[in-house]
């Protein structure tokens, strides 16, 4: 009878595990993380030495300003006002009083120290988790004093990676076409600068028109278009040595050159008898291979980061749309189906998205879609803008935007802008002159 009772109870009670109360947190805020960047401390002797070499009064605070600016521009961090800091930089670097930093609502804290060691710049920095009250990271660099800006960028990259989980993009450079003069007589030069607009340098003299510069994967070489006797030709430029060369000599017009992900090939479009097709050229043996074969205009090719696919735009459906094919030219698939004209597809370094320019009802948009064409998102809309280029971590796009010319032919300008994938963090990238056709390098410090 007892057994029977037990069995009865067993049947009657539906067995469930009564563990902990569980609450699923599936949403959070996307507000920038409040972070305090304490000026890097420096002893008096080092300070004087650096003042002589670099003509900067306090190199410690200059470096921390670079870090602060980078973090702010990323849109993911909110660097707090230094006036609110309660602790001196040198003491904070030894052991921060977390209550003080908590008081000003900082969630992370960067401290550090600069010193002059054997004519070199030595920078150490620490990243602290204020809420947990512990050190998250500590690193030190030694470099020539002139590299002080790069040290700031590298620190930002490390902090960014530690706090967001993805690689940074601050120790990078941007190559672009610097423009000056009235719209009808523009002087165009190749220019290169740091990602934040500093260290601007012109690479060509401006005698010939230059277009569409693109970095190779190591960011040592640039391929670009330059006009020679009114015909555009593809050039290669070594940034360190300054040597230039023409890539092959084609009888027709070549456009939109770009490196393959391994840097061994250049992919471009080449127009002959009014029909534009996509070609690749092996840089070692200069063998040219035809990839597409279609009576329509195929142009703007861009490799996927694994080199297995190519995206390009084509008007084979009647309007210009974006297509994806295998790198040997087979299996061509149209991926853009929205209203309007799509162009300049660029594959993200992360491989998950393709950025593009879209023209619809007289407006230009920069947008992204997944590589199968789904999930199209337009990030920004304007009178005229195009040519997006990805940051090396695939989070930010740089592009250029032109303003309208008024009836007197004035008011025209071309500026570089950046926008991140959220579509909210849009900023102008400072350049000394007007600029267009930007291309973002890969991370320099690896």
């Amino acid at each position: 009878m007892k057994k029977f009772l037990i069995i009865l109870i067993l049947i009657l009670i539906p067995v469930k595990s009564f563990g902990l109360i569980e609450v699923d947190i599936t949403r959070g805020n996307l507000n920038p993380l409040p972070i305090a960047v304490s000026p890097l401390s420096i002893d008096e002797e080092s300070r004087k030495n650096f003042q002589n070499i670099l003509k900067k009064k306090n190199i410690g605070s200059e470096i921390s300003l670079i870090v602060e600016n980078n973090l702010k521009v990323s849109g993911l961090f909110n660097p707090l006002n230094k006036d609110a800091f309660l602790q001196e930089p040198d003491i904070a670097n030894l052991k921060p009083r977390f209550e003080d930093w908590n008081l000003i609502k900082a969630q992370a804290l960067i401290t550090g120290k600069v010193s002059y060691v054997e004519e070199k710049l030595r920078v150490e920095f620490r990243l602290w988790d204020v809420l947990a009250g512990k050190e998250m990271m500590a690193l030190a660099f030694t470099t020539v004093p002139n590299n002080w800006r790069r040290v700031g960028h590298i620190i930002t990259d490390k902090v960014y990676e530690r706090l967001t989980g993805e690689r940074g993009y601050f120790d990078t450079r941007i190559i672009y076409v610097a423009e000056e003069g009235p719209k009808t007589q523009r002087v165009k030069k190749l220019a290169i600068m740091d990602q934040d607009g500093a260290n601007n340098k012109f690479l060509t003299l401006g005698n010939e028109l230059v277009l569409t510069p693109r970095f190779n994967p190591t960011s040592q070489m640039v391929t670009y278009l330059s006009y020679f006797r009114n015909l555009p030709r593809v050039y290669l430029l070594d940034i360190e040595t300054g040597t230039q060369e023409v890539v092959g000599d084609f009888p027709g017009m070549t456009f939109a050159p770009r490196f393959s992900p391994d840097g061994k090939k250049i992919i471009m479009s080449f127009a002959k008898d009014g029909n534009s097709e996509i070609y690749t050229m092996d840089l070692e043996n200069r063998i040219v291979e035809k990839i597409t074969n279609h009576p329509s205009i195929d142009t703007s090719p861009s490799y996927s980061p694994d080199g297995k696919f190519i995206s390009f735009n084509s008007d084979r459906s009647g309007y210009q749309q974006i297509y994806v094919m295998k790198s040997d030219g087979s299996n061509v698939k149209r991926i853009s189906f929205g209203k309007g004209i799509y162009g300049t597809p660029v594959w993200s370094p992360r491989g998950d998205l393709i950025a593009f320019t879209k023209l619809h009802k007289g407006k230009f948009y920069i947008g992204v879609m997944r590589t199968d064409g789904s999930g199209e998102r337009l990030l920004t809309e304007n009178f005229y803008q195009e040519a997006p280029s990805w940051s090396p971590n695939g989070r930010v796009l740089i592009f250029y935007r032109e303003t309208k010319t008024d009836s007197k032919g004035k008011g025209f300008s071309a500026k570089l802008w950046s926008i991140d994938l959220t579509g909210y963090n849009e900023r102008q990238v400072p350049t000394p002159t007007d600029g267009s056709d930007p291309s973002w390098s890969s991370l320099l410090s690896n």
């Binding site: 037990i6 109870i9 067993l10 049947i11 009657l12 009670i13 539906p14 067995v15 469930k16 595990s17 009564f18 563990g19 902990l20 109360i21 569980e22 609450v23 699923d24 947190i25 599936t26 949403r27 959070g28 805020n29 996307l30 507000n31 920038p32 993380l33 993911l76 969630q107 988790d129 809420l131 947990a132 998250m136 530690r162 706090l163 967001t164 989980g165 993805e166 998950d352 971590n393 989070r395 959220t422």
Partner: protein, 269 residues
């Protein structure tokens, strides 16, 4: 001979009856979607709140009369809900043993997770199934009626209660608070399985005594950088949110709490 056949058939019928009664309950489980319930609840409160609006009193009074039936249908399960935690414990020993044996056999893995939790709190939690059983016996008739008329609602409410231990509004208050504190690291990949489970020990005022990441080993494994970043952001959110907005009553229920942080939904959109 005849007797044993009769006994056998009666027993068989009894077993068939039991399975028929209990199986549909199990089978319906996956169909119930919690979001739908919350919407329904909001609508109900809206309806019941309307009578206090000055304008349409008369019309609404008529509606109210009609709705009275509805309200009465919805009321019983709520009452049942309240009775459960306060109900008198059953004779425990036998049942407890049975429970333990069953768990041993069926879920050998689970024990690892729950070893730490076999505290008094845990034991008290174990009484609940018995209480429910007791209630089922007592309130079979009334419950059967409500089940017939409004099966979805009552089952959902029960289910919600049993699984979370917090009512919808209590849970929502806590969620809303943590949503506000949690800065999601935007660089995380959305296509990876990144779920951070954190066990909390709470004081009655909602401040956190101890927080523990349940997959702690994953934190320092190579190649799990994203997991670490997410886990740290979750811990920061909890620290920032202190004291947590917990219900003012029933400390025993929620003095240990597990939060599951999942950013996929946000990162995809």
């Amino acid at each position: 001979m005849n007797r044993s056949i009769v006994i056998s058939s009666v027993l068989h019928l009894f077993v068939i009856f039991l399975t028929a009664m209990s199986l549909p309950f199990l089978a319906k489980k996956p169909i119930d979607l919690p979001p739908i319930v919350s919407v329904e609840l909001i609508q109900i409160t809206e309806k019941t709140n309307i009578p206090f609006a000055p304008k349409a009193k008369k019309i609404i009074e008529k509606v109210k009369e009609k709705e009275k039936k509805l309200v009465s249908e919805q009321a019983p399960p709520k009452k049942v809900k309240k009775i459960k935690p306060d109900a008198v414990p059953m004779p425990e020993d036998k049942v407890k043993k049975v429970e333990k044996i069953k768990e041993d056999k069926q879920n050998p893995e689970k024990i690892d997770n729950e070893v730490k939790q076999v505290s008094e709190f845990e034991k008290e939690e174990l009484f609940d199934p018995n209480n429910i059983a007791a209630l089922i016996d007592k309130s079979k008739e009334s419950k059967a009626e409500t089940l017939k008329k409004n099966p979805d609602l009552s089952q959902d409410q029960n289910k919600n209660f049993e699984n979370t231990g917090l009512s919808l509004s209590e849970e929502d208050a806590l969620k809303a608070q943590i949503f506000g504190c949690w800065s999601i690291p935007l660089g995380l990949p959305y296509n990876e399985n990144l779920l951070v489970r954190i066990k909390l020990e709470l004081k009655p005022d909602g401040s956190v005594i101890n927080s523990e990441i349940l997959d702690h080993a994953r934190m320092n494994k190579p190649g799990q950088g994203f997991y670490k970043v997410l886990a740290e952001s979750a811990l920061r959110a909890i620290k920032l949110c202190q004291p947590l907005r917990v219900p003012s009553t029933g400390y025993e229920r929620w003095k240990e709490l597990q939060l599951n942080f999942d950013a996929r939904e946000m990162l995809e959109g």
